[in-house]
């Protein structure tokens, strides 16, 4: 990818807050990242670190209230999605930005047939006839590996397995050949062979259509295999970001370093007990004024408890938000 080219998606200083009965939850704080045409950005991070909330904020998918996107810019080809009208945003969703939700059961409508749900965006955004949309929907189901696709068009979501529902979500998100695909843990319910098939499909779409992709996952193996860059989130902020090979080889943030150590092995010796990072993540009732990882960090020092570190460049394209100097980076 030409590094100098303007990004398709450029997110700057995004901040999202929830108002709850017991006060505000500052779920996402000043998150910035960008995405080039055809690029795949992997997003990893602690459960509850704000990955889903970040991505849903981009295209107005969080119910407001209780959510409030309190700051930042989301530039899609230079246009700020946080400023445009709802009808404009609805046109962009589905047509230009495809979204695979983490929880397929809540985003698929239980009372509509699977086929109708895939045809819906095709009819709405692509101006296809019903017959054309049907043909395309079957083709999409086949692409994501649903056997007997034509017959399965008339099934309801509850008649599908967990992984089949997830693949229906992927089919819907891809239906209109979006410029940007945001996939929130899209393969958690898929076995490795079907996952490999989906990853191949994604690779092809990137090459053929230049689709840019954000891929949230806990599977570091997937990140290693398909991502160009990886962004690591912790406590509502980005703590490290860089090219995959570099971050895996020279992780700089203590959270990233601990995360990479916790993966159980497929080959070699089998550990008796798995490594976990001790302690709990912070509850963000206010914007953190100290490093959110300080309480669990192996390299914590005084400064970490009084000053939340800003992201700083280690190398071109690799940055970290940490006061500590990792020995290798």
């Amino acid at each position: 990818m030409p590094d100098g080219a303007a990004p398709v998606l450029d997110v700057r200083g995004l901040k999202t807050v929830f108002r709850t009965r017991s006060g505000e939850v500052h779920a996402v704080n000043h998150v910035s990242f960008s995405l080039q045409k055809g690029e795949l950005l992997g997003v990893v991070g602690e459960s509850g670190s704000g990955k889903s909330v970040t991505m849903m904020s981009l295209v107005g998918l969080l119910p407001q209230p209780p959510a409030e996107v309190r700051g930042g810019q989301v530039l899609l080809d230079g246009r700020d999605l946080l400023k445009i009208s709802l009808p404009e945003l609805q046109d962009i969703r589905g047509a230009r930005v495809g979204f695979v939700f983490q929880d397929p059961m809540t985003s698929l409508n239980p009372v509509f047939k699977v086929g109708d749900q895939i045809m819906e965006p095709l009819l709405r955004h692509m101006g296809l006839t019903k017959a054309q949309a049907r043909t395309r929907a079957i083709e999409l189901l086949e692409l994501v590996g649903i056997p007997d696709a034509a017959a399965r068009m008339s099934s309801y979501p509850h008649q599908f397995s967990g992984g089949m529902r997830q693949r229906v979500m992927i089919a819907i998100a891809l239906a209109c050949d979006p410029d940007v695909l945001i996939a929130d843990e899209p393969t958690t319910a898929l076995d490795v062979t079907i996952q490999a098939q989906i990853l191949e499909l994604v690779k092809e779409l990137r090459q053929k259509l230049g689709m840019a992709i954000v891929w949230i996952t806990h599977d570091l193996g997937v990140i290693a295999g398909i991502a160009d860059r990886v962004m690591v989130m912790y406590g509502g902020q980005v703590v490290e970001q860089g090219r995959v090979a570099e971050v895996f080889k020279h992780p700089a943030h203590p959270y990233t370093r601990a995360l990479l150590k916790t993966v159980p092995a497929l080959h070699g010796a089998r550990a008796d007990r798995l490594m976990a990072i001790e302690g709990q993540p912070p509850i963000l009732m206010a914007e953190p004024s100290s490093c959110p990882f300080a309480a669990r960090c192996a390299h914590v020092h005084d400064r970490c408890r009084v000053e939340n570190p800003q992201r700083r460049d280690l190398n071109p394209g690799h940055d970290v938000a940490c006061h500590w100097e990792a020995p290798h980076a």
């Binding site: 929830f18 709850t20 017991s22 991070g45 602690e46 459960s47 509850g48 889903s52 909330v53 983490q102 929880d103 059961m105 590996g145 056997p147 007997d148 017959a151 008339s154 008649q159 397995s161 967990g162 992984g163 089949m164 997830q166 693949r167 843990e185 958690t188 319910a189 898929l190 076995d191 490795v192 062979t193 079907i194 996952q195 490999a196 806990h218 193996g221 997937v222 990140i223 290693a224 295999g225 995959v244 090979a245 895996f248 601990a258 995360l259 990479l260 916790t262 993966v263 159980p264 092995a265 497929l266 089998r270 550990a271 007990r273 798995l274 490594m275 976990a276 990072i277 709990q280 509850i283």
Partner: protein
């Protein structure tokens, strides 16, 4: 270590779960999705049996049918000596605390109008006589165990992230100290550190209380970590059931081999030899004649397209359903499902 002489806690014999397909204006039954089509296995007390296989092959259906969240079409399931499939409702209600399930879809299994404390506390209200104070104590203890902050107790499910919701489901399943838990993708939505924490917790409980698990997962590294034996399913049937180390060292069934070769490794520089499966993925409504895997098997030969291979013991403790392998000639002494099949075949 496990003792092979311990009587199995869970015994499954020829379990079938077929879902009817209705079509036409009269919604007449025109066929059936054979989600689970005749499977047999044992799980010993204190053992973890891993269950892996392609998406849609019937794993969740097995889990649900085992503890009778579905009414099985045929077959028998006994848990701690009691036949589950024919148990009358009241007896089943009394049995429930012993057998629990962590559901694959956490969102769908949590009541959106209940707070976290109410959700975890519900089975305690239903099946115990704990005082409200003792109950809250137990709820907090469970929240600590799965790494949910106590301050979240009065939040509703939608206020949690995907992984947090999954942990609510785990805490709820553990609430009544069950003997047997079906864990259906219990860690899929968790980051690796919390996965480790949950898996360590499951193992600790197993050591302390002798829990027995059916552990359904796509994560083959995690299955290798937690399971004693692993069953590999394909299209509603078990194609291989082997002790963990044997399976990972040398998978016998060609599907098991392909599955293990496809695992992505957390190392951008390592790209292993993947067996990419080609050919049509069959539908459980219309499975191929012969071996269900014959449409995609890289080692297929004529016989596979006409005869269905039975699951037979081909090496001590290893059962495989594939024409490439011959049944062990030395009869096995255990009374496992493998042997029954061996006799059926007249071997």
């Amino acid at each position: 270590m496990l003792d092979a002489t311990v009587a199995p806690l869970v015994q499954v014999r020829d379990l079938k779960m077929h879902f009817p397909i209705h079509s036409g204006v009269l919604r007449r039954q025109t066929g059936a999705v054979k989600a689970v089509d005749g499977i047999s296995f044992d799980i010993r007390a204190g053992e973890t049996l891993g269950l892996v296989g392609e998406s849609g092959c019937g794993k969740s259906t097995v889990g649900r049918a085992l503890i009778r969240l579905y009414e099985p079409t045929a077959g028998s399931v006994t848990i701690a000596g009691d036949e589950i499939t024919t148990m009358p409702p009241e007896a089943l209600r009394k049995k429930r605390p012993q057998m629990q399930m962590v559901f694959q879809d956490p969102q769908a299994s949590l009541n959106p109008r209940m707070t976290l404390a109410q959700i975890i506390g519900e089975p305690l209200v239903e099946h115990t006589t704990l005082s409200p104070d003792r109950r809250l104590e137990r709820i907090y203890e469970l929240m600590d165990q799965v790494g949910l902050n106590r301050r979240f107790a009065n939040r509703y499910p939608h206020e949690f992230s995907g992984g947090q919701r999954q942990r609510i489901g785990i805490a709820r399943a553990l609430a009544l100290n069950p003997k047997f838990i079906v864990c259906d993708e219990p860690i899929a939505a968790l980051d690796v550190s919390i996965q480790a924490q949950v898996v360590n917790l499951l193992e600790d409980l197993q050591d302390r209380l002798g829990l027995t698990y059916l552990f359904i997962s796509h994560d083959l590294s995690m299955v290798r970590h937690i399971a004693d034996r692993v069953a590999v399913m394909y299209l509603g049937r078990i194609v291989e059931l082997s002790p963990r180390d044997d399976l990972y060292a040398r998978p016998l069934h060609p599907y098991a081999e392909a599955l293990l070769s496809a695992v992505p490794e957390a190392d951008p520089e390592q790209k292993g030899q993947r067996i990419i499966l080609k050919g049509d993925v069959p539908s459980p409504a219309n499975p191929p004649k012969g071996c269900a895997f014959c449409t995609r098997c890289p080692k297929v030969f004529d016989r596979c397209r006409s005869d269905r291979p039975a699951l037979v013991e081909v090496a001590p403790g290893r059962q495989v359903a594939c024409h490439l392998f011959q049944p062990q000639t030395v009869p096995n002494t255990s009374n496992g499902p493998g042997e029954t099949r061996l006799q059926q075949q007249g071997v």
